[in-house]
């Protein structure tokens, strides 16, 4: 098993210290940063995402793997910046105003990072203006919104409307998700996509930024 496969394996097992150590080793051996990222860290997270999608593992295992991925990314990030390797896309993420539920949103963020995206997580209880302001300020091409309450879902439409009002349609795409949200609701409010779970959300965001 080569070094990058070892990184991937240790990441899948959630061994954060090992992933950090092996990533450092790969950097010291002057392996290309893009390879360490793609064939080590992202490859591992892809396996984790697939197993989660197949209900073979559950949220805690995904989060342990994510922590391992961050341990590797801590080592790799300076090199990625130095080599000018950009993320595959940038997304602003948050739970909508009035909604404090964020486990699902956090999971989407983690899996997007694992897929190579830069994620600006605004947290929960996020006002429509904050979503759109952040997307403009950060140059994000996607806004991701989560809601768990039927009473806070309408806030998603406010965000989608604000994107249009500011003339950002097409430049900034919107994706929605959460227990009460559906594809029909997403279409009704003019959102560009709907993610029915975290893994699906990653696939949909990849489509929105044309990297699927």
């Amino acid at each position: 098993m080569d070094l990058l496969e070892q990184i991937s394996e240790q990441l899948i097992s959630g061994e954060d210290e090992q992933v950090g150590k092996l990533t450092r080793q790969a950097i010291d051996q002057r392996l290309p940063a893009q390879d360490i990222l793609d064939r080590g860290l992202i490859a591992g997270m892809n396996v984790v995402g697939a197993r989660f999608k197949a209900h073979e593992i559950f949220l805690p295992e995904v989060l342990l793997a994510a922590r391992a991925m961050y341990a590797g990314m801590d080592q790799l990030k300076p090199l990625l910046i130095e080599e000018g390797i950009p993320p595959i896309g940038k997304i602003v993420l948050g739970s909508v105003q009035g909604d404090l539920h964020d486990i699902g949103k956090n999971l989407v963020g983690i899996m997007l990072k694992g897929a190579g995206f830069e994620v600006i997580d605004l947290g929960n209880d996020v006002a429509p203006e904050r979503f759109v302001d952040a997307a403009q300020k950060e140059g994000a091409s996607v806004i991701g919104m989560s809601a768990l309450l039927t009473t806070t879902m309408p806030m998603m439409k406010n965000v989608a409307d604000l994107v249009k009002q500011r003339g950002l349609s097409g430049k900034v795409k919107t994706i929605v998700g959460g227990a009460p949200v559906s594809a029909e609701y997403a279409a009704e409010i003019g959102a560009d996509a709907y993610g029915f779970d975290a893994a699906n959300a990653v696939d949909r965001v990849k489509s929105l930024v044309n990297v699927a």
Binding site: F58, L59, P60, R67, L100, T152, A179
Partner: protein, 246 residues
Amino acid sequence: MSEILTIAADEIVPDRAAVLDNQGIPPDEVLPPATEAVYQAAFDLLTKVAAPVGILAELSVDEFAGVYRGDGWNEPSTPVGDIFPRSEHLALFAATLGPEVSREITSRFESNDLAMAAMLDAAASAAADKAADVVERRFCAALSDNGRMKPDTGVLRYSPGYCGWHISGQGRLFKYLEPEQIGISLRETYLMDPLKSVSGVIIAGPGEIHDFRSTYPSCTMCETHGCRQRIRKLLDQSNPEPTRGV
């Protein structure tokens, strides 16, 4: 007039099944050793940092009508709107685990201790529900003590943000109940600080008033249907929980 209720730590111990369910894990799932370790650590931390407390205030149907109306954002037809006018006793309530739990969750997320943060979050959500259950049981006990519980009395609680009761209802609920006395404040967006807090109304009356059908507009959009289990439990004659009149 409101009453502050002391809640013991052992009264809010969350059920393992509820903690796992909050993370989408089947209740009988055997956890891998690393996950089991996270579960135990989260459980221990919650026990250490939670400071549960509750507050309760009885009010009349007319008084609650004013609270429920809120800022006028409720859907025209809601379960609570149909149930409370037929109630016999009502009480507003709030319960919290205190600020330290939320601080720990945030701090764990910020330091990328993600599994622990999510497990603690899930355990705290289940524990906050337990704290609300304690307040509900205390209200039942008070009704029983002064002979206001009848054999057919059924008691259930409802919260703003659910079942069509608009979240803005928190505004008037807070004005009446003043949960600030137990350290809960309300954001402009009507969310509570600390986040691991529960508020709402406890409605006591003939058990059948709670047996509503899932045909309200809010029900058609709701995918959790958490009410169904509570209603079934209430209406089950063999239910040993003291939420039914004795």
